[in-house]
């Protein structure tokens, strides 16, 4: 089935793709057909910069359990950083 589950957020950072590092401007999170993980569906995380082109993309396909674990560690890391007064911005 096509779930059509996808949502994007503007982000600020850099990512390493097939040709090296590049600025990341958008993150899209979906849950839909996987193309490479061998499962019918996967959490699809795309970190992109479409001003550069469609191939300026760092892609992940994760199962739901991995997504939950990742989300927990992201939250934990952000809270720990905030606790020490960090709010860094990529320059």
């Amino acid at each position: 089935m096509c779930t059509m589950i996808a949502a994007s957020a503007a982000v600020n950072g850099v990512g390493k793709g097939a040709t090296g590092w590049f600025p990341i401007t958008q993150a899209t999170v979906g849950y839909d057909h996987a193309t490479h993980s061998g499962t019918q569906h996967a959490l699809l995380l795309d970190f992109t910069n479409y001003e550069i082109g469609v191939e300026a993309r760092v892609a992940l396909e994760l199962d739901l359990e991995s997504g939950r674990a990742l989300m927990a560690q992201l939250r934990s890391a952000i809270e720990a950083a905030e606790a020490i007064g960090e709010d860094s911005r990529v320059r």
Binding site: M1, C2, G30, H33, T35, T48, V54, E55
Partner: protein, 254 residues
């Protein structure tokens, strides 16, 4: 039918990526497969699935071509940029999907391209898997004039209000009264979109409007059971399904 060619028969196809004037006159890519050994043949518009204008779509087109059809498979994502199919599909996904109107316009232009080709016998079919099945049905209903339409497990034919989006504003089932082509539908009973109950609902709507259709539902199969590149593949059901596709096109388009 599968393996029905004679070993002393001249059999061949040409297959290439080309461009054609799609919807709005935009020059877009298409994969065109042309049988080399026959005279006037049916034309088929192949509508690719949500994962993109990919290698599966090309091989699907080649299979139809080897069985004597002139096939055009438009790159419905052409306007989103170019890269590997999964990169392009990711961009389309991030923008909420390709708009139904864009798909219908590209399919209508593809039908015109087929009709203008001297190898085409003037009879056209349209087929697609997954979202392509939904789009094939939608395009056939809105454009009209096709001789056969095949919906392979298209989800979203029935769309509750909360599933309608700016890119997919209308459910294809709402166009049932307008459908003027015989419809073949193949579905897996383990699919979650469309569910067997949704297939029932679609069937009831087709009966209500006295449409010509045949639905085949397979036990032991879910979504995408033709997809030999994924764990969804179901050999027995897929081979039977292919036979039904070929037979349906033969019956309605030769």
């Amino acid at each position: 039918m599968w393996n029905s060619f004679r070993t002393d028969e001249h059999l061949g196809i040409t297959a290439e990526i080309t461009t054609y004037p799609g919807g709005n006159g935009d020059e877009i890519h298409a994969y065109v497969v042309r049988p080399m050994n026959e005279g006037p043949v049916p034309g088929i518009v192949l509508v690719h699935h949500m994962p993109g204008w990919d290698e599966f779509s090309q091989e699907f087109a080649e299979r139809l071509g080897r069985h004597g059809h002139l096939v055009i498979c438009p790159d419905l994502y052409c306007r989103f940029g170019h890269g590997t199919p999964d990169d392009v599909a990711a961009k389309v996904r991030s923008e909420g999907g390709v708009h139904d109107d864009s798909v219908v316009a590209d399919c209508e232009a593809a039908a015109a391209w087929l009709r203008a080709d001297s190898q085409c016998n003037g009879k056209l079919g349209i087929i697609g898997p997954c979202s392509g099945g939904r789009h094939a049905l939608l395009a056939a209903s809105r454009i009209g004039g096709f001789g056969a339409v095949v919906d392979l497990w298209g989800g979203g034919v029935i769309m509750p209000a909360d599933q309608r989006t700016p890119a997919r504003p209308v459910a294809p089932i709402d166009y049932t009264a307008d459908l003027d082509a015989p419809l073949l539908g193949l579905f897996g009973n383990d699919d979650q979109s469309p569910t067997p109950a949704q297939v029932d609902e679609h069937e009831a709507e087709l009966k209500k409007y006295h449409k010509t259709f045949e639905f085949h539902r397979y036990d032991g199969a879910g979504h995408g059971f033709f997809y030999y590149h994924t764990p969804m593949y179901r050999q027995e059901q897929a081979m039977d399904g292919w036979e039904k596709v070929f037979e349906f096109f033969e019956r309605h388009l030769r």
